[in-house]
């Protein structure tokens, strides 16, 4: 059996849905954040697969951008979560409800 574009896309879609599920059901901010990274990487996988199977390099270049941006996002995000943890001693989303209604 040869591995075709469809297989990559299915895996990518699965990863994306898993990530989304994680964001919705997990309570810990760090895990939620990892799930978000999973979603981004699912998109990267789809981009690379498309790029490879259509012989068009734009997609792979775009993936570099995504990875870079994601790195920036992670550094800011982790710093934020740590700052919050130091202030509140918790990283659970239920405790983040002073702003509401």
């Amino acid at each position: 059996m040869t591995v075709g574009l469809e297989h990559y896309l299915v895996v990518s879609a699965l990863l994306f849905c898993l990530g989304l599920l994680g964001v919705i059901v997990r309570r810990n901010l760090l895990v939620i954040y990892m799930s978000l990274e999973l979603m981004l990487n699912a998109a990267n996988l789809a981009l690379v697969a498309f790029s490879r199977f259509t012989n068009n390099l734009d997609g792979q270049v775009f993936v570099f951008f995504t990875i870079t941006v994601a790195a920036a996002e992670v550094s800011v995000g982790l710093a934020l979560i740590v700052a919050l943890y130091r202030k509140r001693q918790t990283a659970h989303v239920e405790d983040l409800t002073t702003l509401k209604l």
Partner: protein, 484 residues
């Protein structure tokens, strides 16, 4: 490649980096004044843009980075818009500086970096630049939102913005991947040539819809509005102001480019979607704002409603509608920034930014009270202010499309109903100011000279755009000429 095309962005970045450098040598008390330097720099860049940058009539669009970056009328209009917004927000930040524990210079610099992201966004002609500029804005705002690390609400707002923002980024990137996979291109120009043939390709439409999700998040339109009230409330006031005008306008700049440059043929079939999003945003924002006591949160809901009003012009799918969007944004700039400036000054010591904190404002500072009254009246759309004329243009554009689709009439009615509902809470704010009530604090508010000038400018802008709309309208019409 002609680097002079990127002059706005480069100058702003240089200004930001310069600020960070100077910060190293400056004594702490002087750092606050760096905001004036930043504002002056932005002002100079704005002047440079107004008087030195012109598009040659022979080639109305100029490209850089292999057509990734386009400098056209629309881009220039938005660049000037963002520069003006940043100028006012920076002046506001100087007033706010005493409430930021440390790193005020970074605060200014981050604002400039966010500004450069907006400048890039206004020129995006490629999904790669769209994504990068979008993220440049968003990631900077994560930091800015949570800049008051001593306040839990600021941190909480930052984290909420971070998670929902990253979620929307994930959807956007996935959408871009799908669009790219089907059409083999990321460039808007190339895409517009081929998009028509993918009109029935479900995967292509799927991807495009996900890109719209990301932009919908930026402009805080229903159903992606959920973050806005929390973040508006928690963020430092100047950041909220910048979020309300800059980030939203950047979203609209990109939305216009994607919908009307990249895929105009497909957009033409999406009138239903746009009508529903616009109508529900208006109703949701206005209804939720009614029981609101926190002023910043109230403006958060109001900003959702205004995303809806602005989408009226997009939904109209006509040149008149698009120029109305630009016009309304310009009026909104003066209105919203003057409102936030007043909040920044008047609610200095008030816990929870409660509307009641405005009590007796007309005695503490008549200028602030008058500005706030005008801003609220303009938001509510009362003539002869900018908000009235902007709404008039938007509704007119929608009514004109009425014969093609009955949904437009429903949308007009919804928008008018929204305006009526909004009167209630906007006037609630005005009443809170003039109602004597139990004004705890009647000490006069000192309004510094730069802020005084800014407020005069904003009032002038609101009145000018409401009374003499022709000049700007002509500019807006020119700017949207290249959109289809």
């Amino acid at each position: 490649m002609n680097l002079s095309l990127l002059s706005h962005e480069l100058l702003v970045l240089a200004l930001g980096l310069g600020l960070l450098l100077v910060d190293l040598w400056l004594p702490v008390p002087a750092k606050r004044k760096l905001g004036y330097v930043a504002a002056a720099g932005v002002g100079l860049i704005l002047l440079y843009s107004l008087f030195c940058v012109q598009l040659p009539a022979s080639s109305p669009v100029q490209y850089a980075f292999g057509q990734m970056y386009a400098l056209d009328g629309l881009a220039l209009f938005f660049k000037r818009f963002f520069l003006l917004a940043a100028l006012i927000v920076l002046l506001m930040s100087v007033e706010f500086a005493d409430r930021i524990a440390s790193g005020i210079a970074e605060f200014y610099a981050l604002m400039l970096f966010a500004l450069s992201g907006m400048l890039f966004a206004s020129s995006a002609n490629d999904f790669a630049l769209l994504f990068v500029s979008l993220e440049l804005i968003t990631v900077t705002f994560y930091v800015l939102t949570s800049f008051q690390r001593a306040r839990v609400t600021s941190l909480e707002a930052g984290v909420k913005y971070l998670i929902i923002g990253a979620l929307s980024t994930a959807f956007t990137v996935y959408g871009i991947a799908l669009v790219y996979g089907i059409s083999h291109t990321l460039n808007f120009g190339l895409l517009s040539g081929v998009a028509a043939q993918y009109g029935d390709n479900k995967i292509f439409l799927f991807g495009l819809a996900l890109v719209l999700v990301g932009l919908g998040f930026k402009i805080a339109a229903f159903p992606f509005q959920i973050w806005a009230p929390d973040v508006y409330q928690g963020a430092p006031t100047p950041v909220t102001a910048f979020l309300a005008i800059g980030s939203k306008a950047a979203g609209f700049a990109l939305l216009l480019r994607v919908l009307f440059i990249a895929v105009p043929d497909i957009t033409a079939r999406w009138s239903n979607l746009l009508i529903i999003i616009s109508g529900v945003s208006i109703l949701y924002g206005n209804l939720c704002a009614i029981p609101q006591r926190n002023l910043k949160r109230l403006l958060g809901y109001s900003s959702i409603a205004h995303a809806g009003y602005l989408l009226l012009g997009v939904a109209a799918l006509s040149a008149a509608g698009r120029s109305a969007v630009l016009y309304y944004l310009s009026g909104y700039l003066f209105t919203v920034l003057s409102a936030f400036t007043v909040i920044c000054l008047a609610l200095r010591g008030v816990e929870g930014e409660d509307v009641g904190g405005l009590a007796g404002l007309h005695r503490r500072s008549p200028l602030l009270a008058a500005t706030m009254t005008l801003a609220m009246a303009s938001l509510a759309g009362i003539p002869p202010l900018a908000g009235f004329f902007g709404k008039f243009l938007l509704l007119k554009a929608v009514v004109e499309q009425g014969p093609t689709h009955p949904g437009y009439y429903c949308l007009t009615f919804t928008a008018l109903a929204g305006v009526v509902i909004s009167l209630y809470y906007y006037f609630g704010v005005v009443r809170a100011m003039y109602w004597p009530g139990e004004a705890a604090d009647l000490s006069p508010i000192v309004v510094s000279k730069p802020i005084r000038l800014t407020l005069y400018g904003c009032i002038g802008g609101m009145l000018y755009l409401g009374l003499f709309p022709n000049g700007l309208l002509e500019a807006a019409n020119q700017a949207v000429k290249l959109l289809r």
